[in-house]
Symmetry: C2
Subunit: 541 residues, 2 copies
């Protein structure tokens, strides 16, 4: 099959096409002349507003406003199952999903048929294989192209997507789409390949917008834009969920900015998650992706913008991930059924946070990743999640009793013994997560994450800066169930630096979905004692 650099492309005079520019550099030039944020969206304004607050002094009136579908900053109902979520609010809510998802063993093979049935004849394939040493990933691309070939579809491969997708990648892939007059787009990879494909699709034959910068914000793609071509997204990198979301994150190296596009119309037409692709992955990748998805699901469930629809998906994701992750990671030979269930759990978690948003674990992990490039965000999430859950579960004035009661449902989904006491539910949830993280051998403290790295090193002096940055992270921050003060945020980053919530794992509840109700009944009323197991400053620079 064909793999071409945009620079080497010759025009194809036979193909009817509309080229609003002549080369990738032309696009880049035009992009550079555009104001970095020419159409400041609500999200953008909201972020500026939060950022302009003194750290620790989050505007309460803003706390309830979620960037959702354009024309509505109203927070959706936020009602959960039997229990009321946060305060009683009313209003319409939005739920987003790909119209067609292919899941499970052999999904990739089925995709070939689906693409050809869609009438695709000339397909732009977006991947990052050029920047990967990963032979598996290349192998996936080969298999995909074979399926396309068998189905009678030509593939034009853009393999240059970088690890962090850039505006240059988008411009080059867009040029290639016009050059080859494609009638469909396939992306194969993790987040960045899908993100580039989403941006290319939003710009391809869009008469009103030419550059990624114009798309930034929530639903800022031109009114009246309908996708000109279908987009098929094949996930090869577990847990990222970009194959099913309405989000694209593109880095603008010219302005040193991260551009976030949120628009339901860039949700891929068909998402494809094949369990067989997970079979070849190393255990630590599966473990990290599984816990990352657990963080997606927990934070979506506790989000301010959750709805019964996102709850349904989040709770079942938590059930599947809690029940099957150990087996998926530790079994030899690989436990196909467990991997299948983890694959479905990841999908459900993604569907949930795609509409409900995320919370503080992600805000902090994002801040850490921004400060220390190449730090593995899924490991950071694994460390932060128990601390953040405990913070959410604390009975405080800000959190009313109903909110704490959500932990009763959360605990049940995690297989904790049935309880109606929020306090014991919180305790079991925190310990279950910490125990799972420990069992799948992920790091339990930030200092441990630090120690696993060869070069980049976190510094404890940076904690105040990280905390302040995390509190300005609008996207997960706004939907967060609770907003910490700067002091509280610093405090629990420091805790996460040194302390594992698994300190009591020795006598933790056994996480077992078929647990007997009688077990551990005596511990119900114990208060949750925070034991600080100082790892010492061995790892801290």
């Amino acid at each position: 099959f064909l793999s071409l650099r945009p620079g080497s492309l010759a025009f194809n005079p036979a193909a009817p096409r509309r080229l609003p520019f002549n080369s990738a550099s032309d696009v880049l030039h035009r992009a550079a002349t555009i104001n970095p944020a020419p159409r400041r969206s609500r999200l953008w304004r909201a972020r500026t507003r939060v950022a302009s607050q003194p750290p620790g002094d989050i505007d309460e009136s803003f706390g309830g406003a979620v960037p959702s579908y354009r024309g509505s900053l109203v927070v959706p109902a936020g009602d959960h199952f039997v229990r009321q979520h946060h305060t009683s609010r009313s209003g319409a809510s939005s739920f987003f999903a790909p119209p067609f998802s292919l899941l499970g063993q052999g999904a990739l093979q089925r995709l070939g048929n689906v693409v050809s049935e869609s009438g695709a004849k000339r397909c732009l394939v977006v991947s990052q294989t050029k920047h990967l040493r990963d032979e598996d990933e290349k192998d996936v691309l080969k298999r995909l192209c074979k399926e396309l070939f068998d189905a009678g579809t030509d593939a034009f491969i853009f393999s240059d997507v970088e690890l962090n997708a850039t505006t240059e990648n988008v411009a080059a892939a867009l040029l290639m789409a016009y050059e080859y007059d494609v009638d469909s787009i396939i992306s194969a990879g993790g987040g960045s390949a899908h993100d580039v494909a989403k941006a290319v699709r939003a710009l391809y034959r869009n008469p009103e917008q030419d550059a990624v910068q114009e798309l930034v914000g929530v639903d800022e793609i031109a009114a009246g834009w309908i996708p000109a071509v279908p987009h098929f997204a094949v996930s090869t990198c577990m847990g990222a969920c970009s194959a099913l979301t309405r989000l694209a994150v593109i880095t603008d190296p010219l302005h040193q900015e991260t551009l976030e596009i949120v628009d339901w119309r860039i949700t891929p037409s068909v998402s494809c998650d094949d369990t067989l692709l997970m079979l070849e992955q190393p255990r630590e990748i599966i473990a990290a992706a599984g816990v990352e998805s657990l963080a997606h699901a927990c934070e979506a469930f506790l989000s301010n913008a959750s709805t019964p629809v996102t709850d349904a998906n989040a709770l079942h994701a938590i059930r599947l991930l809690s029940s099957y992750l150990r087996a998926a990671v530790t079994s030899t030979p690989k436990d196909t059924k467990a991997l299948d269930m983890i694959n479905y759990g990841m999908f459900l978690a993604g569907v949930s946070f795609n509409s409900a948003g995320l919370g503080l674990s992600h805000a902090i992990a994002n801040a850490l990743c921004a400060k220390y490039i190449n730090l593995p965000s899924s490991e950071l999430l694994a460390v932060m999640l128990p601390h953040v859950l405990e913070f959410y579960g604390e009975q405080s004035e800000e959190m009313n009793d109903d909110a704490a009661e959500l932990f009763v449902d959360l605990a049940e989904a995690m297989g904790c013994p049935k309880t109606s006491s929020p306090a014991s539910a919180v305790k079991c949830v925190v310990q279950s997560v910490a125990r799972l993280v420990s069992d799948v051998e992920l790091p339990q403290t930030l200092s441990e994450v630090n120690a696993r790295q060869s070069s980049t090193i976190m510094r404890i002096d940076d904690v105040p800066e990280i905390a302040a940055k995390a509190m300005c992270d609008c996207v997960p921050g706004v939907t967060s169930a609770r907003h910490p003060t700067l002091g509280e945020a610093e405090n629990f980053i420091l805790q996460a630096w040194r302390t594992s919530k698994c300190g009591e794992c020795g006598d933790a509840f056994i996480v077992d979905a078929v647990a007997k109700p009688e077990a551990n009944e005596t511990k119900k009323n114990e208060t949750w004692v925070q034991r600080y197991n100082w790892v010492g400053s061995d790892y801290v620079v």
Copy 2:
């Protein structure tokens, strides 16, 4: 606003259009000359195959084959949460959903914005208000048109859809779409308005297909067809769920046939379910729609084609409907939160069966509705559901233990006391459903349904015919967890005729989502005694 009969339409020479025919009668003439099933689909062939079996002798090899996405008759994984579903199978699965759903209070108001943001300027509005005396429905249409008007979109209203959508309705609405050169379609109503809109959208600017007959089957819309216009579906009739599915059922009066179109590409672009529209509905409508949705969710959960994704939706639907339906039906004044939760529950149930399919309650209700026109199918489902669930839950050679264990999850979702015994789970599930049906004052036996009718009357002599027909109902029949023999089917229709499963409601488990685990623990090992409370032949003709 404008309401025109197709016969009275004058051509609009200014509008650019492609008219493959000159009038509705031309379309009908062309449709009539087409073989009723010109392109016999797999579904069609499968049905013929089942129908050609002697009743009661279902082909076992077909039992596992589910009409799913074209190119695959493989049954998806069918794995549930912790428990294995039916036999252990592997394979890819499909999940379908609208890309964007608006739900909750005020969703209709939000839709105006969404339509105008989509760039729609000339919108075909499909409704059945002409055939309705219901002023509420007309009021919804007025409000909708006001939202469109405010958003700058012209509405062209086709209000002639009959109670059962016909090929004539489709032809006339299609003609109107071409005449007015519409760029979008809105349907407002119950199933038939959405079904007509889906068929019109599939044919509008479709260069390869002209008539509904050509679309019949699973994914039989031409390969390469991409919808030319977006479709916004506003549900005004609860429980039908047609606003979010990939199904359309159109009656062909010329050939006296029911045409079923199943294609993911006719899923509406945006579905809209506004809780506020439920506020004006009478209690018995809410009750019937709620129990109909419960039947959707239970049968989807037990379906052969279920996946963890459909399970997530089905289980949460069951939780919401079990917890809130009584309050939604009985509270005075109307309990807005309960109605909201029922609305979400109906959506989740629809999303679930849209991919997982249905079971025997629907097969039997369909057969009864086909025999006795205008019988209320939701009441028939309410009667059949407990009987069918009991049949599914019986330990038999055909159902392995794992399958029966699914009832443990089902019972938990219904708020039954936690149990690990499938037998007591089945008992609690059957009684919970029967109790709910009784509490919301729906009929509990077929003879009671009979008695509530003024004109049409079921005859007990017809039971063998109904049973045989139900077993030939391919669509819910194939995904049914268990296939009865003809004798078994007759038997439980007869049971449903005379006996309420609520016979033991007096000492039934209390359905309470926050039930104490200890309650009713002593009843755990009781065997399920079928008590036949013969209502007598008072109602039976």
